[in-house]
């Protein structure tokens, strides 16, 4: 980290400073967490550790837990977890939360959903917070100027017992994006382009701040998707300085803040930005005009191309390690070097995940599929991010559009993003997916994932192959 003695500070440095309980050594601080979120699969061993040592949860009211990863998403009203191990994970989480007085969102709770969807949805993400969760996509919260990042289970136990984390300081990176995103592109395409250009470890070790005209033109939900996937470039945090759009979003979602208390909060949040003279350890800049719909072709999120482009030729890659990496990925995804992605048939469409299952994502899908049908031989499912998103989509008539088109309209959960529940792809199935990881086996052994935006996934659903949504017409 830039241990700048000058007075100009980055937003990241300010957030760390205002949460430092103590400096432990030159690389580590004891960092206070305003909010700690848990799920059923990365917390059990942490609670077991507390039980073993007889330790208590220091501040239960700053913690919450939700069942999201293992939960089935079949469109039934009452959800029953059939798998015995998964059912035990859910009941164990409930028991642990009851024992320690931790707010809990159970499988059939009206507000249940994917952790990173429900937490901001109900105003629990506020600018200037530090938010931890045993899940790598906790970087999502940077969209509202909160420092969020994923931790492991040992750290979950540490946070439960102390509400703090022994935190290794990150280096700082600024990514400036000028201009405006062109027609037919989204923040998903932007982040896929950035990851492709800086690589899957391009931001490793850094807390990234996104800035520039293109960033502040994005809706808050689009910013969630951007910050969510910063971790796919290895980032230890992603931040966007909160602006009027963020304040409006928050004002709607924080009913506890009104009149004087709201004014006090807004006054605090307005100061959350990097100082003009602040220096970053690394800087990149991009032009939003260069963004096209991006689709991944390989098994790492940086293996992406614009839909108009071609997969790399092996002969064009000089570095031997890189050539082997590309070759290995293409053997897995059953694609040829130098070929295009447009026109590649898909058998499955998955619209969901903490990246792209919010109401704006579903509206974008509805816009494409309205009056069209899911292609023959394609199974298309929509898994909304939360109960709230699901109800909103039904109120707006989006659910009817999906059902008319032939989509499955399912209950909320992480579902096929990581396939921990029963939503698993069979070997060889090729899936157009709005998720965040195209790793080998992620959606099922030998299943092939192509990451893309919700609109692009919708276009693939109706044509049955990877398609440039811009050419689909009205």
């Amino acid at each position: 980290m830039s241990t700048s003695t000058q007075t100009s500070k980055t937003l990241y440095e300010k957030l760390v400073e205002t949460h430092t309980v103590a400096r432990l050594d030159d690389q580590n601080v004891l960092l206070y967490a305003d909010l700690h979120i848990m799920n059923e699969y990365t917390s059990p061993q942490a609670f077991a550790g507390l039980a073993q040592t007889g330790r208590k949860v220091l501040q239960p009211g700053q913690n919450l837990a939700v069942v999201d990863h293992i939960i089935p998403t079949h469109p039934t009203t009452i959800r029953v977890i059939q798998d015995a191990d998964s059912a035990l994970q859910a009941s164990n989480l409930k028991r642990n939360c009851e024992m320690h007085g931790i707010p809990f969102y159970d499988a059939n709770d009206r507000y249940q959903g994917v952790e990173h969807v429900i937490v901001p949805e109900h105003g629990m993400v506020r600018p200037g917070m530090v938010i931890l969760c045993g899940d790598s996509h906790t970087t999502t919260y940077g969209a509202l100027g909160a420092l969020g990042f994923g931790i492991g289970t040992s750290e979950v136990e540490h946070v439960l017992a102390t509400q703090t984390l022994v935190y290794r300081l990150a280096r700082t990176m600024r990514i400036h994006v000028s201009g405006r995103l062109p027609f037919g592109t989204t923040s998903k395409d932007l982040i896929l382009m950035i990851i492709r250009k800086i690589s899957a470890q391009g931001a490793r070790g850094y807390a990234v701040e996104f800035c520039g005209e293109a960033i502040h033109a994005l809706s808050i939900e689009a910013r969630f998707a951007l910050c969510n996937m910063a971790v796919e470039a290895g980032a230890r945090g992603a931040l966007i300085a909160p602006d009027q759009m963020a304040f409006d979003y928050l004002t709607q979602r924080c009913p506890d803040l009104k009149g004087e208390s709201l004014a006090q909060a807004l006054n605090d949040w307005r100061h959350l930005r990097s100082d003009a003279g602040a220096t970053f350890d690394a800087e990149y800049s991009f032009d939003a005009a260069d963004v096209e719909p991006y689709v991944t072709w390989g098994t790492s999120p940086d293996q992406a191309i614009p839909i108009t482009g071609c997969i790399p030729e092996l002969s064009s890659i000089e570095d031997e390690t890189e050539r082997q990496t590309v070759d290995r990925a293409l053997r897995y995804t059953r694609l040829s070097p130098g070929s295009a992605l447009e026109g590649v048939p898909v058998q499955h469409i998955f619209i969901g995940s903490c990246t792209n299952a919010r109401i704006e994502d579903l509206r974008a899908v509805a816009e494409v599929v309205k009056g069209r049908k899911v292609a023959k031989h394609v199974r298309a499912m929509i898994v909304p991010g939360s109960g709230e998103v699901r109800r909103q989509a039904e109120v707006e008539g989006l659910a009817d559009i999906f059902l008319d088109a032939g989509f499955e309209w399912r209950q909320p959960g992480c579902s096929m993003c990581l396939a921990m529940n029963d939503d698993v792809l069979a070997p060889g199935i090729r899936c157009a997916s709005t998720t965040n990881r195209n790793f080998e086996g992620r959606q099922g052994r030998e299943a092939i994932t192509h990451l893309m935006s919700p609109a692009m996934a919708a276009a693939a659903a109706v044509t049955g192959c990877i398609t440039d949504v811009r050419n689909l017409g009205a």
């Binding site: 330790r55 919450l64 994970q89 899940d135 040992s154 750290e155 290794r168 990581l418």
Partner: protein, 212 residues
């Protein structure tokens, strides 16, 4: 915690870039509420074919590497999901150290918290070690944590480890206990923090009460 100063043994070459934690331990092994049996899931799709039979061509299935204690891997090893099961599983499998040009950040912290040693070396140093260990005759590696050195058949290299992590390996450290000795300081910090930002106090509890 077990105290470690030296790790010696067979090292297996696994030169794959961005080997993510989903591959290190696939989803179907994450359904338990304890840490038992995770070794079964380690690198499952690489070790076993779709019928569940051992893949003879995979390095860890070859007799010469069956008792590997060390992996020599590609860049960004352990990227992706935060699942600490990857670290627990590797340890249960018998792996005590991984040598690679770089590691995923969350994986790095998880490994350090469990005494799985991660040694980051320059890419060409890792490649040179790989050229040794790819030959079963030269697959022995010795890592001295006190001196922070790695020795393979033909190579020797130094690595760095933060003082905190080095102490964790050499002396063991009850991190939660150490932090809890500062409990009063943490409570005082929170009180002062909430004085300035009252909208953060009990944020999860008050929201849960509102959402009934």
């Amino acid at each position: 915690m077990t105290r470690l100063s030296k790790i010696e043994g067979v090292a297996a070459p696994l030169p794959i870039a961005n080997l993510d934690t989903d591959q290190i331990i696939p989803k179907q092994f994450l359904r338990r509420i304890d840490k038992a049996g995770l070794a079964d899931g380690i690198l499952y799709d690489m070790r076993f074919d779709s019928n569940g039979d051992k893949r003879g061509d995979f390095v860890l299935n070859q007799p010469a590497y069956a008792d590997s204690k060390i992996l020599v891997a590609g860049q960004n090893f352990g990227c992706g999901s935060s699942r600490e099961h990857a670290v627990w599983g590797l340890l249960e499998f018998g792996i005590k150290a991984v040598i690679a040009p770089s590691f995923g950040e969350i994986f790095y912290s998880n490994a350090m918290n469990n005494n799985l040693l991660l040694v980051a070396l320059e890419e060409n140093a890792v490649e040179a070690i790989l050229r040794d260990v790819i030959n079963p005759q030269y697959s022995q590696i010795c890592i001295d944590i006190e001196a922070m050195t790695v020795r393979s058949h033909s190579q020797s290299a130094s690595f760095s480890l933060s003082e905190r992590h080095r102490r964790m390996f050499l002396e063991g450290l009850d991190m939660i206990g150490a932090t809890l000795s500062m409990e009063d300081q943490i409570r005082a910090f929170a009180q002062a923090h909430w004085q300035h930002k009252p909208w953060l106090k009990d944020i999860a509890a008050t929201t849960r009460k509102r959402l009934v």
